[in-house]
């Protein structure tokens, strides 16, 4: 009986500690995307300036697909200049930067584009189909799609120049 009493405490506590250790090891805010390493879902984006583009048309081009919203402050405000700079630096090297404006008003989105002088194509996702197809949780999120159409990397939060440069170079 005494041996059993000595054993019962470690028998009960050890699994609980192991479970807690497993839980503390993982970041609850970071949910890995099942899309990374797989084919990017096809999309068709109608930009605010009237043009249309899609994944099929961009085959052979590395894509930086950024989901944003004008109300997303400060993260979307912080990353907008970095995205514009990346577009200007890499547009002649087979890279396309695309902005997808989600859950937003058109006037506010256009004002945002004007404010940051964004020259890369930006378009709305009125039904949210594209954001659901890409498993978007919130804004901003940025997907790096290779020339072959595979999702190379997903960045959650404001994307920096360093991340943009690094990931684009990896894809080229």
């Amino acid at each position: 009986m005494a041996t059993w009493k000595k054993l019962i405490v470690p028998i009960v506590i050890t699994p609980i500690l192991l479970l807690l250790a497993y839980g503390f090891k993982t970041n609850p805010r970071q949910v890995p995307s099942p899309l990374v390493g797989n084919s990017a879902p096809p999309f068709a984006l109608s930009s605010f300036d009237g043009g249309t583009t899609g994944l099929e048309q961009l085959r052979g081009t590395a894509i930086v697909l950024n989901f944003w919203a004008s109300w997303c402050f400060p993260a979307c405000f912080e990353e907008a200049p970095a995205l514009e700079a990346a577009w200007r630096a890499y547009k002649d090297r087979g890279v396309m930067v695309l902005g997808v404006d989600i859950q937003d008003r058109e006037a506010d989105a256009k004002a945002f584009i004007e404010r940051f002088k964004l020259s890369f194509p930006n378009g709305p996702d009125p039904q949210g189909r594209m954001s659901i197809d890409y498993g978007v949780y919130g804004v901003p999120e940025t997907f790096f799609i290779t020339r072959e159409g595979t999702i190379h990397y997903k960045h959650v939060g404001a994307v920096t120049t360093q991340v943009l440069q690094g990931k684009i170079e990896e894809m080229l």
Binding site: V12, L19, V31, P32, S33, P34, L35, P41, Q103, Q127, G128, R129, S131, I132, D133, Y134, G135, V136, Y137, G138
Partner: protein, 155 residues
Amino acid sequence: MRNTFLALLIAGVLLARWASAIFGIGLEEQAQLLAAELRCPVCQNLSVGDSPSEMANQMRELVREKLKNGESPEQIRAYFVSRYGEWILLAPKRQGFNWVAWLLPFGAILGGVGVIGFVVHRSVSRSRAPGDAQLPPLDPRYASRLQAELKEWGQ
């Protein structure tokens, strides 16, 4: 013959109504059931069915559209898992490590019942102990006195 036919007809109609009530869930109800199984991505403690957010609303619309297009609930669940991972399911699949989440509560309940049973059993045994336990032999002086007093009471 006519009565038999009438009885069969009534039984058939009742059976069909019963079957449709049990199995024939409407599209809207099916969409609501599916939405209740999905976790809202922007308000993580609510289901897509309960969340008032725009994203949850868009997801509900997508579920309805997919059901209208003839996709089965399994296909729709698989679609959301392929986009968001298993995280999107409020109830984890019954496989692998997920079994811990399914079985631990029952294990804890059983363990608790076991502990309560053990404690109750021990306290009951202790309360009975004085009657059952082997008492030390009575001092002969008190034994003779006890016998004398018992005789006195008996008279």
